[in-house]
Symmetry: C3
């Protein structure tokens, strides 16, 4: 088991915790908790693999990801019966997971021979699409599309930085700085409430059909 | 036309009826009914085939599935204008459809060379993901994730039973017993209101963003 | 750059405008606007390509589509700060986009060797599924499934007309007449409020689980 692999599984665990907590706040049953945790943890990478025609999909190729998601979801439920989950710690861990998954997804797109915007999209999908699928399963407007502290935007900025820095720096160093950029932006957004401008249009929602 | 094929098309028809009725309860128009019925009937298998990179997707390879969905949806609408649909009969048929599709999906994953958890996930997706997509199109939290009589859980238990029984029994017998397990658990859940424990966490829904 | 390619990019731009406006009516932030616009413009074709196993997916093969979506979304936001968007003009442009994308999607399915119902489904998905994904991301029941002026139905009728006319006419002429049929039906539906009959079933939404 290599160091990147261990980090990847830690990222899966962090996202599974955040998914399980989201399911708990919506009073899902145990199956719902497990499904939401797994989709949050593995959904982004799955979407990336399907769009890039990368088969077998990562969690089919290495089912450890699924087992880690399941175990984490159940441990989260067990823990939350006795103590309030440490929200602040989870937020920090989630920011690190976003950083790791985004750069990892970007690198996978690069290895598949893609460049520029496709790398940015795949990095961001890997980092942020699991949360979008989680919110869609909860029948809610995805958090990252609404006025909220920046999340996917941090991922986009970090992957762009990673791509630009490759022109000047060692590949590994560029990757680490890209991750630092994502984690830094996201943690800054949490602390200082950084948001993007909102686009507000008057009128009824379904005016044009 | 072989016996498994006929059963499969019956399963499609049953799921299409349940989809059409769900659309009717939400006042969809005719196109909506046809779309929801087809997605309910074919969505789980489509997700399985895309994730397993199994092409052409089953209903593209054999369009009979689509025609059966369409015809069933329209017949359901026509029938429901004159008589109340027999809810209890449909529930029983749906339980049989779940049993059939789950084991069928599990076998497809096995034939593709997968084992263990991937087989369980693909079986459950085949049986239950059509209903999840139906609920997502209805902008509702999927029934199977919320406190409700167990559904996907029956599918998981039955596929696990099927896998374990293969060590002791003939393959066909294991498949039949797996199906019996799913149908039995689901019907028992309907009759005796079996549910899974709920995970309830205090706090606002979007506390952590 | 060929004429069909230019038309295709115009179609992408039109759908991106409609997506950006939908996001604006729901008070999304800038990232949300860009995501919704891109999903509306490229989602239908993406679903078609994934289902048909056509890789690389069209916007990965030619990223111009993505850049056009992004630029259009930002221009729409900039424009809407100063003037009310011309809803009527957008509706007409959207009808033309639907016509173009539906026939284009149908032709792609034909080139992949498919016939009949698969061509109709792929044409309709290409034209109308982007809007469905947009509505799902907005946590709303997709407009085209509810009582509303016909949209996907126009696409279905036009693709069927295109397939039938191929028996009598030149292929290009059949394609043009199919598009005219879609645009005509959709514009007629907007003007004269053509809707499909609704299927209304009494009873609670989740009666059968």
């Amino acid at each position: 088991m290599t160091l990147p692999h261990i980090f990847e599984l830690l990222g899966v665990a962090v996202f599974a915790v955040s998914g399980a907590l989201a399911a708990g706040r919506r009073n899902f049953d145990l199956l719902g908790v497990v499904v939401i945790a797994t989709v949050t943890a593995c959904g982004g990478g799955t979407l990336r693999d399907v769009l890039l025609d990368r088969h077998p999909v990562f969690w089919i190729a290495d089912t450890t990801h699924v087992y880690v998601s399941l175990a984490t979801a159940l441990l989260t439920v067990a823990y939350a019966r006795y103590r309030h989950p440490p929200e602040r710690l989870i937020l920090i861990a989630d920011a690190l997971g976003l950083a790791l998954f985004s750069i990892l997804g970007a690198q996978i797109a690069e290895h598949a021979g893609h460049g520029g915007i496709v790398v940015v999209i795949m990095g961001t999908l890997t980092g942020a699409a699991g949360g979008v699928l989680r919110d869609m399963l909860c029948a809610e407007v995805p958090m990252i599309l609404r006025r909220s502290r920046i999340y996917a935007t941090a991922s986009i900025a970090g992957v762009v930085a990673y791509l630009l820095l490759q022109g000047f720096l060692d590949h590994t160093l560029a990757a680490l700085l890209g991750m630092a950029c994502i984690a830094g932006l996201r943690l800054g957004a949490i602390i200082w409430h950084w948001t993007l401008p909102v686009f507000s249009l008057p009128g009824k929602k379904d005016e044009h059909l």
